[in-house]
Symmetry: C2
Subunit: 203 residues, 2 copies
């Protein structure tokens, strides 16, 4: 009973939930999902172990919530940058990837993108996490698609392939550039991505 009481707790504290998710984003991004235990997470969040199950019914449910928590601030940043209609659409897209490259360099070309990492680590084993990740990729591609659509409308590019397909390809290629970046620990693949995307595809 003691245990059950501790697990259910009184009322879930949103601050505890936030701490758990912040620790989860950080730890899953640096160490991966399989290598990070619930014990590690509550330790890093400095909350009582029982509180974890007040907020998340399983490690998998937590993993799916971490995907949301990871994407949320990034989506906010994209909304701000891509919403800046004072810049030409392809310039916005170019600036976005330039910022990402600077961030990757700052991180020592480690960690990469949590969505890509989890795609390779957990999607064969967790439908819940896989679907959450797939949804974020869609939301991310929509920002890129909007830039490409506007560029096409303004006559700033001639590539006849439709904007949705080009956007998905650009996003997938970015994920691939991050894979190669991790293997090489350099910006080469990221810079090459920018060069080929802007010189051969979005033109």
């Amino acid at each position: 009973m003691q245990h059950a009481t501790a697990r259910r707790g009184p009322k879930p504290n949103p601050d505890t939930r936030r701490k758990l998710l912040d620790a989860g984003v950080r730890m899953l991004h640096t160490g991966g999902y399989a290598s990070t235990s619930v014990q590690d997470i509550v330790g890093a969040a400095a909350v009582p172990k029982g509180s974890f199950y007040n907020h998340f019914e399983s490690k998998e449910a937590f993993g799916a919530a971490v995907v949301d928590a990871y994407f949320e601030p990034r989506e906010e940043n994209m909304r701000a940058l891509f919403g800046d209609t004072g810049m030409a659409p392809l310039d916005r897209l170019s600036a976005y990837f330039d910022r990402r490259i600077v961030a990757c360099k700052k991180a020592g070309y480690a960690q990469g993108c949590l969505l890509g990492n989890l795609s390779l680590e957990v999607t064969d084993r967790s439908v819940a996490m896989r679907e959450r990740i797939a949804g974020k990729f869609e939301a991310w591609a929509a920002f890129i698609e909007e830039c490409i659509r506007e560029a096409k409308e303004e006559g700033a590019m001639q590539n006849p392939l439709p904007a949705p397909q080009l956007a998905q390809f650009v996003l997938n290629s970015w994920e691939g550039a991050l894979v190669r970046m991790r293997a090489e620990k350099s910006a080469t693949a990221l810079q090459l991505f920018k060069q080929v995307v802007f010189q051969s595809i979005l033109r």
Copy 2:
């Protein structure tokens, strides 16, 4: 002493080494590096535990040897396919990716590429494995580069970017298509890769 004798064994058996590597390729491809223990590997290979350390000084050294064992038959296949000069160079490249797409479908869009998986899982923690993986990507890109170089020489494509850069980009984008494939569990990203690469880049 018993233990030390068992570990050092008499003379390493190449058949045991092969069994360990075959099990390693299979298990690292399906379950990842962190989730697979030395115990799991010797169990799957059905060899005595001590024999592992007759052949590999550490799990990390084993992981690097698994990278070689994974790439070797794939390199052989590429040598055969890309060496078939009866086919036009871009047709060879197209046939190569078509085969890869069929193989991915057969695997239920799971597992993907072990080099990509390990790039995201271990390269921040193991220099030995990272360098081995980076070398395989280079060897792989060289096959693609040769096709592109020949296509350029024959006037079959006009893209002014140099063959080495185009080849690296194509390979990295393929890895990215595999990331997205894993998240979507479908061939969509792979087919889109082929479409954009052959319609917008290698032209």
